[in-house]
């Protein structure tokens, strides 16, 4: 069929794990925005959801770090974190290895891609799924872009990966949804946890909404580290979604800096 839904959201572990420490209005409005995203996703009746994530050393380590990896498992497990710490119960998540394989083969025509038949989801995927597929009844295809252990894939390759993914979605009969998930500016798990560069976030989100390729690919990692923290490297997931939806504008439905969640909390949907 094609791509039926594309969007982006935050995934910081505090969103669920430290929800009780948040201002009630911050928690309520952000969780409501996630719920609206779930309703919009469900309305498109997807057969599978590809989650483009930036995982955090749950499966991939510096002994063998893929720039890009896609899941090809029958099922996945998560969260890998202590369920009490993350505020999400451990569960089994359905996969679709046949669909994964067909998508991987098409993506590989343009971008080299590792695959994994085993994958333990960390908060980078488990937090979005907690809100978007809370019954775990939709086939999930996880994707990881290495945003943690430099050297990192260049931004223009993240865009290219998105384009390749779109081609692959267009080539299968199933209805595919894509959600990219990452932080924009943030300094997670550092003494500066909770710091958020709102001006930087808003500028980047304006570019993301406009699908402004040149503007989004302009950032150097040195600039991103300086202005948006090491967590800012996760803009690769947003850029991959933009590459997959080149030519379409998008709308940010929610943005609010919530320091106890350690990120500018975001929900955005592409207007396909």
């Amino acid at each position: 069929m094609s791509l039926v839904f594309a969007g982006v959201c935050s995934h910081a572990p505090g969103i669920t794990g430290r929800a009780h420490m948040a201002d009630p209005d911050d928690k309520a409005t952000f969780h409501a925005a996630f719920d609206e995203m779930r309703v919009a996703l469900e309305a498109t009746k997807p057969d599978a959801l590809i989650v483009i994530a930036a995982e955090h050393f749950a499966n991939f380590f510096m002994d063998n770090m893929p720039a890009y990896c896609m899941g090809m498992g029958q099922e996945y497990h998560g969260p890998i974190e202590d369920p009490d710490w993350l505020g999400i119960a451990r569960t089994t998540i359905p996969g679709n290895p046949d669909l994964s394989q067909r998508i991987i083969q098409t993506v590989q025509q343009d971008v080299d891609l590792a695959y994994a038949e085993e994958w333990k989801f960390d908060h980078g995927i488990s937090v979005p799924l907690n809100f978007l597929t809370p019954r775990y009844d939709l086939d999930i295809i996880p994707v990881n872009i290495n945003c943690q252990g430099p050297p990192l894939t260049p931004l223009h390759r993240a865009w290219k990966f998105g384009e390749a993914l779109r081609k692959a979605c267009d080539a299968v009969p199933e209805r595919i949804a894509i959600v990219g998930t990452g932080g924009i500016s943030h300094w997670p798990a550092t003494p500066d946890s909770g710091k958020i560069n709102v001006a930087w976030d808003k500028a980047f989100l304006d570019e993301w909404q406009a699908n402004d390729k040149d503007a989004m690919l302009r950032y150097t990692d040195a600039e991103t580290l300086r202005d948006a923290g090491q967590g800012g490297f996760e803009i690769r997931t947003f850029i991959a979604v933009s590459g997959a939806t080149a030519g379409s504008t998008a709308k940010v439905h929610y943005y609010r800096p919530i320091p106890i969640f350690a990120v500018g909390c975001t929900v955005g949907i592409v207007e396909l």
Partner: protein
């Protein structure tokens, strides 16, 4: 300096509840399998979360070790701040600093 193996130990602990149990029961029985120097061994065993941060352990790995060692979130953040105050700049990794102010 064997930051790679310090992080690898924590990565393995985060992934494997059985290894966590073995480690909590007898740290040396697990630590002997990793190439670590005296400073790293001391920081792991104490545990000195602030020192592990200064050594350059990635926070996405360290935050789970801190939780496993019983640190609540604010205590974990404070431990890193204390580490900076006591030991100075982060020495390696993507959080390396030169101004004694953490990741800013």
């Amino acid at each position: 300096m064997s930051l790679y193996y310090t992080q690898k130990l924590l990565y393995n602990l985060n992934r494997d509840p059985a290894l966590q149990a073995a480690y909590l029961a007898d740290k040396d029985s697990v630590l002997k399998n990793y190439t670590l120097d005296e400073e790293e061994l001391a920081a792991l065993k104490k545990p000195d979360i602030g020192m592990l941060y200064i050594l350059g352990v990635n926070g996405q790995i360290l935050m789970h070790y801190a939780a496993m060692c019983g640190y609540a979130w604010p205590e974990y953040i404070q431990a890193m701040r204390d580490g900076l105050a006591k030991h100075g700049n982060v020495r390696a990794g993507i959080y390396a600093t030169t101004d004694g102010k953490g990741a800013i």
